[in-house]
């Protein structure tokens, strides 16, 4: 059990974040305030990968690691679209994923919003000239905020959420 006790007492999450991710704390606190205000303390997010290279998913998953720990700011990735407020879409929208993507969107209760992350959903990225790609996402759904980057870094995604919250507050 020495491994667990070492981790418990020597490697605190708070220590990591204060020392290495100061800017995340500032952005996160701001995010938390607006999520509290607009979404009643919880913004639930569902992800659909419509044909990415898996780098965007890695970065979205990284938001849950101790450096970022997005849940403490009130943002949670949920398993079912029925629980979600926001749909994040990554990837270039392949023909085979078009239907599942639209069905996921349909199953989110209103009001609902779409955020696209990464360069592919906006333009099709390097795959736009393919017989098998039918993006961009904006052809099918109304995109509230786009987070660019290939892939967007976790901190860029947090900034994207901030932009989205600003939009929500002003509308």
């Amino acid at each position: 059990m020495s491994f667990l006790s070492k981790l418990l007492f020597k490697n605190k999450t708070q220590e990591i974040t204060a020392a290495e991710s100061g800017s995340i704390l500032i952005k996160g606190e701001e995010l938390k305030r607006s999520v509290n205000e607009v979404f009643g303390r919880s913004l639930f997010v569902r992800l659909v990968d419509s044909g990415s290279c898996n780098a965007c998913e890695n970065e979205l998953a990284a938001l849950s690691n101790p450096y970022y720990d997005l849940e403490r700011f009130g943002i949670k990735f949920v398993a079912s679209p029925k629980h979600a407020d926001v749909l994040i879409i990554t990837g270039c929208v392949t023909r085979n994923m078009l239907n599942p993507m639209l069905k996921t969107y349909e199953n989110i209760p209103s009001p609902k919003f779409v955020i696209t992350a990464g360069d592919c959903p906006e333009s099709g990225g390097p795959f736009k000239d393919s017989y098998s790609v039918c993006g961009p996402v904006s052809k099918y759904l109304n995109v509230a905020v786009h987070i660019s980057g290939c892939p967007p870094e976790p901190e860029t995604i947090v900034s994207g959420f901030l932009k989205f919250m600003d939009m929500m507050k002003s509308s």
Binding site: F3, C53, E57, A62, N65, P100, P126, Y131, S132
Partner: protein, 502 residues
């Protein structure tokens, strides 16, 4: 420069099925099948079979075809998926194939007359409507029920459909339906130059882009007749091993997550974050995108960077050692990992697995050792094997591989040769010459077949991802296991959807 010998054989399609038996008996295994539309050259399609093993050479058997070719799936089950793929994309019928359901061109979206990899197919926007329905395999009987999972999963992962048939908790059958993310990369690459191809290839599977790119560059630099500087070879290997380490750290973290040990899991996720930040320091990108170029590498490693790498890999080793001790001494961890998701030696052999999945089932398959590239032949690597075939074996091997990678990196850091990091490449490839490239990613063998056209552009590019070879094995690994162990088995293989779907 490519060190692999390619032995080429031209044969008749009808003879090949008999020959396959002999090839298998000689200890060789299927690395992949690449078809190409070469009607503009000799009015035929070419189907090339690549076999490896039994000494560092690769055997290529080329069969010419008009409308059909002989299926070898009955003798070599590993060929099954490739033949279905060729039937979809080229419309060549593999005669005698037991299962000709469409693979990536879903009948729900695609007209069955569409064969996009034929050279005369140019329609980028075929009509989108429902043309038919895919038939899943069914098990019938009293008390048997189905669980359908995906394509959109509960977690932050890629899409894929899994259909379980169960009697109580144990799984009777699993059918995996993939290719939701089929992006048609091979067709997009055609007519592009090698530089544009590099950008596309690095986005086949983002988390393994360095190793996949190395494989691509092995083939391209062979075609262009480029010898890259020693320093560039060393840096490529260092980056490749760093990528392998961060992949395995993440994989082990997910194993802990799935068995309910959040604390070690989060500690490893934090370590993964540190490794990705190291990547950013070294090359300016967290996934090492665009760090390699034709003829060398894009960013040099100065002494400060080398020091940072050294410190980080030391830290990784210490934490992973603690993890290993914890896994080996905790009965609750062992209880979940041991005997779960067992892939037998025979199954692994018949499906021609590669990478960790093969080595965990006792097959000595590591491209760095079998078909060495860059400077791997000088590193005296020994294959790290386990004969358990279960989740435990795969997890332990990932830990051991981290130690191996750490040692490789340290050896190279202290012996980095001076000199340039890239050479200029003005050469043009010979018209209609082809080359192969291979490398070992964190999942297994990444294999490229590339043919140039008479303008120095890509005529045909075929990439075989390790995940494409390994995915079918999960359908055997889960049999008899309880459904609740499926996520764990899936994570222990941690295969790529994007690399598989292409």
């Amino acid at each position: 420069m490519n060190k692999i010998m390619l032995n080429k054989h031209n044969i008749e399609s009808s003879d090949f099925i008999n020959l396959t038996d002999n090839i298998k008996a000689s200890g060789k295994y299927l690395l992949g099948i690449a078809a190409a539309d070469e009607r503009s050259l000799n009015s035929k399609y070419a189907v090339r079979y690549f076999f490896g093993g039994g000494g560092g050479n690769i055997d290529e058997y080329c069969v010419n075809a008009d409308e059909s070719f002989q299926s070898i799936s009955k003798i070599c089950p590993a060929a099954k998926m490739y033949e279905r793929e060729i039937y979809d994309l080229f419309g060549l019928l593999p005669t005698g194939h037991p299962d000709l359901r469409p693979l990536m061109l879903y009948p729900e979206n695609w007209d069955s007359s569409v064969h996009p990899l034929r050279k005369d197919y140019n329609n980028l926007t075929p009509e989108m409507k429902k043309y038919g329905e895919y038939k899943f395999k069914e098990i019938l009987g009293e008390g048997i029920f189905e669980i359908l999972v995906g394509p959109v999963h509960a977690g932050i992962i890629e899409p894929g459909h899994f259909r379980f048939s169960l009697a109580g908790e144990p799984v009777l059958q699993l059918e995996v339906r993939h290719f939701w993310k089929h992006r048609g990369i091979e067709k997009v690459c055609e007519g592009k130059d090698f530089k544009e191809g590099l950008d596309l290839v690095s986005k086949i599977s983002g988390d393994n882009n360095v190793n996949i790119t190395i494989s691509y560059l092995e083939a391209v630099e062979n075609l262009l007749n480029i010898e890259i500087p020693k320093r560039a070879e060393y840096i490529r290997v260092i980056l490749a091993e760093l990528e392998r380490i961060w992949n395995y750290v993440r994989d082990i973290a997910w194993i802990f997550m799935d068995i309910g040990f959040a604390l070690p899991a989060q500690s490893l996720f934090a370590l993964q974050e540190e490794l990705m930040r190291l990547n950013k320091i070294l090359t300016g990108h967290r996934f090492l995108f665009n760090s390699l170029t034709i003829g060398g590498v894009n960013s040099d490693l100065d002494s400060a960077k080398l020091k940072t790498i050294e410190n980080t890999v030391k830290k990784v080793e210490n934490i992973i050692k603690d993890c290993e001790e914890f896994i080996l001494n905790s009965s609750t961890v062992l209880d979940r990992l041991e005997f779960t998701g067992k892939i037998n030696h025979k199954t692994a052999e018949e499906l021609s697995l590669c990478g960790i999945s093969a080595r965990a089932s006792g097959l000595s398959r590591d491209s760095r050792i079998e078909f060495p590239y860059l400077i791997y032949d000088k590193l005296n690597l020994k294959p790290v094997l386990h004969d358990g075939g279960d989740v435990f074996a795969r997890t332990v091997l990932k830990i051991k591989e981290i130690y191996v990678s750490k040692k490789i990196i340290e050896d190279l850091l202290f012996n980095l040769p001076e000199g340039d990091i890239a050479v200029a490449c003005g050469n043009k490839p010979e018209a209609y010459k082809y080359a192969i490239g291979n490398s070992e990613t964190s999942r297994g063998n990444a294999f490229f077949y590339i043919m140039a056209d008479d303008n120095g552009k890509i005529f045909r590019l075929k990439y075989i991802d390790p995940s494409f070879r390994i995915w079918p094995s999960i359908q055997y690994g889960v049999l008899g296991n309880i459904i609740a162990d499926f996520p764990l088995i899936n994570k222990s293989l941690n295969l790529s959807y994007s690399g598989n779907d292409m």
